[in-house]
């Protein structure tokens, strides 16, 4: 049994006037996993990340790499890396000084590794962040992160505003040069389709609650989508799909925990994509 990287029990973050960004959220993240935390705007994704990073006070039990982010944040940050989104590297910072700074404050930073990565890009050491394109700023941030021997990487919309080439390269680099069995990555993004293939686990968050928490392998066993033959629609509905929608005049239904064999003959069966499932969960639950 490995020690979890993150263990959260009953996280609550309440704001004035009964609004809760986190409402009794519980989850566990093991090493060697890439977890997507997915939810609509305002569902509590960023608040959850901030709680993990010790950036915001909250109630509940939270253990990150054996430490409480509320009380042991400075120590914890030696083993945690964080990319918020591309905008957070200060514009006045020179690339060379960014390396100097991290080398000066982070005991687990290997400067040579960051420089090696930067050599493969068009980024020059004398440039300032304001002179770099958004994609290059992300590359620079990635170079800094890759050179830190951390155990948890937290990504909050890391590829926001980047073009497809940079987005693809970003995740490829993470998988090839960073990720291994000892490390965990927690990522939030709206671009679900793009990270679907790299995730090992997904968590859906809605109104501050975790409404789905499952390994990606288990999705195919648990969820099934049926595009119903019109004649069998009533039968299909009788098996209690939790979501249905019209596609090109036909009805697509999504089931949770229904044996595919029972749906046989009612239409086309397939595993719903993560995006389908997300929409189904969010809208289905709202009904």
């Amino acid at each position: 049994m490995t020690t979890p990287v993150i263990e959260a029990r009953g996280l609550v973050k309440a704001y004035a006037g009964d609004r809760r960004a986190l409402d009794n959220a519980s989850f566990t993240i093991q090493p060697g996993r890439i977890v997507g935390l997915i939810g609509p705007n305002g569902a509590g994704k960023t608040t959850a990340l901030k709680a993990i990073l010790g950036l915001t006070p909250f109630e509940g039990e939270l253990n990150v790499l054996g430490r409480d982010p509320r009380r042991q944040r400075d120590d914890l940050m030696q083993d945690v890396c964080f990319i918020a989104d591309v905008a957070v590297l200060p514009k006045w910072l020179r690339v060379r000084n960014a390396l100097d700074f991290v080398a000066g404050v982070h005991p687990k930073f290997k400067r040579e590794r960051a420089e090696e990565f930067l050599r493969k890009t068009d980024i020059r050491l004398e440039s300032r962040v304001r002179e770099l394109s958004r994609g290059m700023v992300t590359q620079l941030h990635l170079a800094l992160i890759l050179a830190i021997d951390a155990r948890l990487l937290v990504l909050d919309e890391p590829t926001l505003g980047l073009d497809l080439l940079y987005r693809r390269a970003f995740y490829d680099t993470l998988l090839n040069d960073y990720f291994d069995e000892q490390r965990a990555i927690l990522v939030t993004t709206h671009q679900i389709e793009e990270i679907e293939n790299i995730l090992t686990d997904v968590m859906f968050i809605q109104h501050g609650r975790i409404v789905l928490d499952t390994p990606v392998e288990a999705l195919a066993e648990r969820f099934v989508q049926l595009v119903a033959a019109p004649a069998r629609l009533a039968d299909a509905r009788a098996l209690q799909p939790f979501y249905e929608r019209e596609v090109f005049g036909r009805t697509a239904l999504i089931y949770d925990g229904v044996e595919p064999a029972r749906l046989a003959g009612m239409g086309e069966l397939r595993t719903p994509s993560l995006a389908d499932l997300f929409v189904a969960r969010m809208q289905g639950a709202a009904k």
Binding site: D74, L76, M77, V88, N97, V102, G104
Partner: protein
């Protein structure tokens, strides 16, 4: 801590450039400036002046001159440091770079501390180092012009006195750092506190308090308090006290030589207000650290 302080100088290059430029301007002014201007002011006093100028008084004259060379740089540094402190914990939230700084294993106490150290120790030390050079170069410039005039005596260099004054200035800067610590901490606190318009936060409330006090009680205690906190340090050095208009060169030179005797700020360490101020600085600094720790508006 060294890295954190270097970071401050990368961001706020004005902290070291502005005093450097001022220093260069002072030297330039004394070397290139109208060669008579210095001598002119003195010669208005005429013969009278030269008679009153004994060797001992000349040394003291020299000391005051050396000390005064630092004043323009100090004023510039104060202005730069004021804006630096107000900006330091504010703009990092505004451009959200705080999320990057906070992704590093650096405590909020170390971050806030590094900014206070830059403002209260690093910049004053830099000004002092510059003034070593400036006072020597500027004096050389003036001495060159005075040589051959009746005032050549004023151009005499005193290595011992020069070292003594520089030592005094260094100790004064350290005492001043203690005296101004509460103001620096208050600026840091505001910088961490303001959600927007940090400059207005620094200016409007004090003015408002002064205004209300004036209207409600007809008093100016708060204004006096601020004035004391801001320039009380120099008052006791004999720079800004309301000096009577003195007649005659003898009295005027006498005043300057008295100033030479008051150059040290060390006696201020006995002022209980300095230590009360430090306690306030500690409280405000702690407040700034707490605010940076949990302020969540990015």
């Amino acid at each position: 801590m060294i890295t954190l302080m270097r970071r401050e100088l990368w961001e706020h290059r004005g902290l070291w450039i502005a005093p450097l430029v001022t220093a260069a301007l002072i030297v330039l002014a004394t070397v290139l400036g109208s060669s008579q201007s210095g001598a002119m002011t003195i010669s208005m006093q005429g013969h009278d002046f030269l008679q009153s100028l004994t060797a001992d008084r000349q040394t003291k004259f020299f000391m005051v001159f050396v000390a005064a060379m630092m004043v323009p740089q100090l004023v510039v540094a104060l202005v730069v440091v004021f804006f630096y402190l107000l900006d330091s914990l504010y703009s990092e939230r505004k451009d959200r770079s705080i999320l990057f700084w906070k992704s590093m294993p650096v405590s909020d106490a170390a971050t806030v501390g590094s900014k206070a150290l830059v403002a209260l120790v690093l910049v004053p030390l830099w000004v002092w180092l510059l003034s070593l050079l400036v006072s020597a170069l500027a004096f050389a410039g003036i001495a060159m012009k005075l040589s051959g005039t009746p005032y050549a005596l004023l151009g005499t260099w005193h290595t011992g006195a020069w070292l003594a004054v520089q030592g005094l200035l260094l100790s004064n800067l350290l005492v001043a750092a203690l005296w101004y610590a509460p103001i620096a901490a208050a600026l840091l606190f505001l910088s961490a506190f303001a959600r927007r318009a940090v400059f207005l936060w620094a200016m409007v409330p004090p003015v408002l308090v002064m205004f209300v006090e004036q209207v409600a009680f007809g008093t100016e205690r708060f204004a006096d308090f601020l004035q004391y906190r801001f320039i009380g340090f120099f008052n006791s050095l004999g720079f800004l006290t309301n000096r009577p208009k003195l007649e005659g060169a003898d009295a005027q030179i006498g005043m300057i030589t008295t100033m030479a005797g008051k150059l040290s700020a060390l006696p201020q360490l006995a002022n209980v207000d300095l230590w009360l101020g430090l306690a306030a600085a500690a409280a405000l600094g702690y407040g700034a650290i707490r605010l940076r720790r949990y302020r969540d508006d990015t």
